[in-house]
């Protein structure tokens, strides 16, 4: 079900090189508001590089990225985050010694205005902000059903839950565009189903646009509104899951045989 929406993020003719290695070559696609957009391809196809370009971690040598109609200048990841792009990582990047609550709270960092002193002394603006942000964080905790691990240090949690905490932190930033780098990697079936449910309800309930990289084709085909296929840094195909599924080139090259 493709929902026609305005273009939220436009990627045009992006090329990224590391020395002589061409990670991405002339890749173009658009992500529309409110859709779930998947980037697939075999290992080394340039998927994570693409996400890193979108959230400002890499700076492509050629091409432009347009976000909310504005062409982006060279920027840093925190600037992208401040504009409404948050992400999760392929290898979980949480503060392992901190609790779930504290980790999710860090997702609100960019929205805090109070000075260090105000925060340290828990006075005035510092206190008001803490309360307001905590409320938002609690809503996210409720949304992702992680109340029972609120005070548990993240390092003690099973992998699947850590992934969920990472998603919570990304959601706490109230992003317009959420980038998920292999959200289901290494999960068992039950954990995957939970994660799918949360990705879908994030999209439906919060209206967040989602771009995800995923290797589990079943998940990709079920979740996504549209899919782009990369191979050796080049775009091979783009379309709805059905179109991708029926694309002989894609089938031959990556899926081997049809998933079903």
């Amino acid at each position: 079900m493709t929902r026609p929406g305005n273009i939220l993020l436009g990627v045009k003719d992006i090329s990224l090189r590391f020395g002589g290695v061409r990670a991405l070559t002339d890749v173009s696609f658009d992500i529309h508001e409110g859709e779930i957009f998947a980037i697939i391809g075999p290992n080394g196809a340039g998927k994570s590089s693409m996400l890193n370009c979108i959230n400002g971690f890499y700076h492509p040598q050629e091409g432009t990225i347009t976000f909310r109609g504005q062409q982006r200048r060279r920027m840093r990841p925190y600037e992208a985050a401040a504009q409404g792009i948050s992400r999760t990582f392929q290898n979980i990047a949480l503060f392992r010694g901190m609790t779930t609550l504290e980790n999710v709270m860090t997702g609100r960092m960019l929205k805090m205005q109070a000075s260090f002193v105000e925060q340290a002394l828990y006075l005035g603006r510092g206190k008001r902000e803490e309360v307001a942000h905590r409320e938002k964080v609690e809503e996210v905790i409720d949304f992702l059903e992680i109340q029972s691990i609120r005070k548990t240090p993240v390092g003690r949690l099973p992998y699947g839950l850590q992934k969920r905490v990472e998603l919570a932190r990304a959601l706490a930033a109230e992003p317009e565009l959420l980038l998920l780098d292999e959200p289901m990697a290494g999960m068992n079936v039950e954990e995957k189903e939970d994660m799918c449910r949360f990705v879908l309800s994030t999209n439906h309930e919060l209206g967040t646009t989602i771009a995800l990289i995923e290797h589990d084709m079943g998940v990709v085909m079920d979740l996504s509104d549209r899919v782009v296929v990369l191979d050796y840094g080049k775009k091979l195909a783009e379309g709805t899951p059905d179109e991708i599924r029926g694309n002989q080139e894609v089938i031959d090259a990556y899926l081997g045989v049809s998933h079903d």
Binding site: R134, E135, E138, E139, I141, D142, E145, Q147, S148, R150, K151, V189, E190, E193, S201, H204, E205
Partner: protein, 647 residues
Amino acid sequence: MAGAIVDIEQYDTFPKLLRYNAEHRASVAAVREKDLGIWQTWTWADFRDAVRRLAGGMKALGLKRGEKIAIVGDNRPRLYFAMSAAQSLGAVPVPVYQDAVAEEMRFVLDHAEVAFIVAEDQEQVDKVLSQKEHLPALRTIVYDDPRGMRDYDEPFLHAYDDVVSMGQESGWDEEVDLGKGSDTAIILYTSGTTGTPKGVVLSYDNLLICAKIGADFEQLREDEVVLAYLPMAWVGDNVLSYCQAHLVGFSFACPESPETVPHDLRELGPTYFFAPPRVFENLLTQVTIRMEDAAALKRRLFRFFMTVAERAGADLLEGHKVGLADRLLYRLGDILVYGPLKNVLGLSRLRIGYTAGEAIGPEIFRFFRSLGINLKQLYGQTEASVFVTIQANDDVRSDSVGPPAPGVELRITDEGEVLYRSPGVFQEYYKNSEATAETKTNDGWVHTGDAGVIDDDGHLRIIDRAKDVGRLVNGTLFAPKYLENKLKFYPNIREAVTFGHEQDFVTAMINIDMEAVGNWAEKRNIPYSSYQELAARPEVLDIVEGHVSEFNESLAADPQFAGSQIHRFIVLHKMLDADDGELTRTQKVRRRFISERYAPAIDALYGGEGRIVLETPVTFEDGRSGTITGDLAIRDARIAGGERAAA
């Protein structure tokens, strides 16, 4: 206020009691719930207002006196409000087990001719909608949590908030006045170990008289704190939370989510608490595991003071004489070990703790009592509005369920079945006069279906289900549940099913406890990736074999049961599960079902084989099904002496 329980002749329904409490305890807490990390409180006045508004909306939607209204979901204040609103309009609430799959739910909803349903969330609504075409009487569904419900446009679906704003508050008092004690208060469907569920019809009189007997017996006070965390469809939650709170005026709290119950327990510190033995078993297992991981000094401190507690704790609790040295040591232990431990478990303030439903392991029971926690046993049934027997504070034993509760008469038939008669005895099974006649005699005695004995001091001991008690070929008494419970007292054994009726000897199928055995395996660097793999490890089988042999030895000492020693056993490759129909929703084994499904395993246990390949169907959490295949070793256990003599 203590002891000032209102006159239940005058306030003979829960809505009337609600109105009384709202007037006399307007600012006293009635219901709490943790939401977004903070405990929210409704006073009795808030409670009444919420109920009055909801009742107005339900009336506007056409709920009529005598109609049935199902309530499906976890313990949430709004679901209790719905129960109360329905009762105030003279409708009959039918709480349904929230984790039942759609087809199970359909039976109850259809049988009770439910016209209204109040569901907690999308998950429950989806289940109901999937069965809607089979439910001709169903007119309206109300849901509490709007999450995920945006795209639902069925005209008969209403959000709770919308319903509240639909009606008028006026007229509520008149509706409440129409209710009387002999009206049906609720229909509770028993999960039933066999056959289809039966709807137990309870009147306000049944519930209120029983609630009062319990409250008087325990001298419940207005300041009790209760956690309502067991299913609303279960009579215990209804009586111990909802009914007694109305009667005594104390508050009950709903947990934030089913997973947070241990945290919520700790934050609340309940004074009056019910938990099935399983919960106490899990608590003890956790304590043991965590103490094993603790530093050496802490471990030694714990061991030392637990020996002191074992020696003196229970006596101190019951007010018996204890030597000065032990009394001082116990005090010290309370500061260093028992106090902090009770605090972590959330049991610091507990005045009355009940356990029932199954037998509790004597050492588990003793452990909690020696900490100074007043844990007691009772024996109850939905058909009795809970209380049949109950232990008094100064007369607690681990092997009995206590003497009859006030107002209850007890007797044992020649076949060993326990019968009782009390003011709490149910009216009938809804639309099932045949079952009613089978269970309830004309003069009010109820067949419990349990086999038991009454000791010389008047305490009742339950040994098994009456119909499950069988005989070996040589005539020896075979009481499977008694044996299984005894096995389950080993922390490593989670579940056991024994066989022996009309056989030459007794055999068992066993589930290990994943947490306890898993921890043990990790300590020894024994790798495993799943229950199935762990359960098949020879090291694990050795442990279980050790337990079974030890179990046999202790049976040999009891002439009644010496002939019931377990000769052969297997450790199953999957957990017995309610989703697969092997356990009931209250986690009791479905014996007949299991013996059909596992027939090849039973044949192998009685044949001479050393191994068996077993294929069993499973249902996954999302409702899909598949099969699990396992190659299981059959082990022989050591038989202790004395059996031949007994046989």
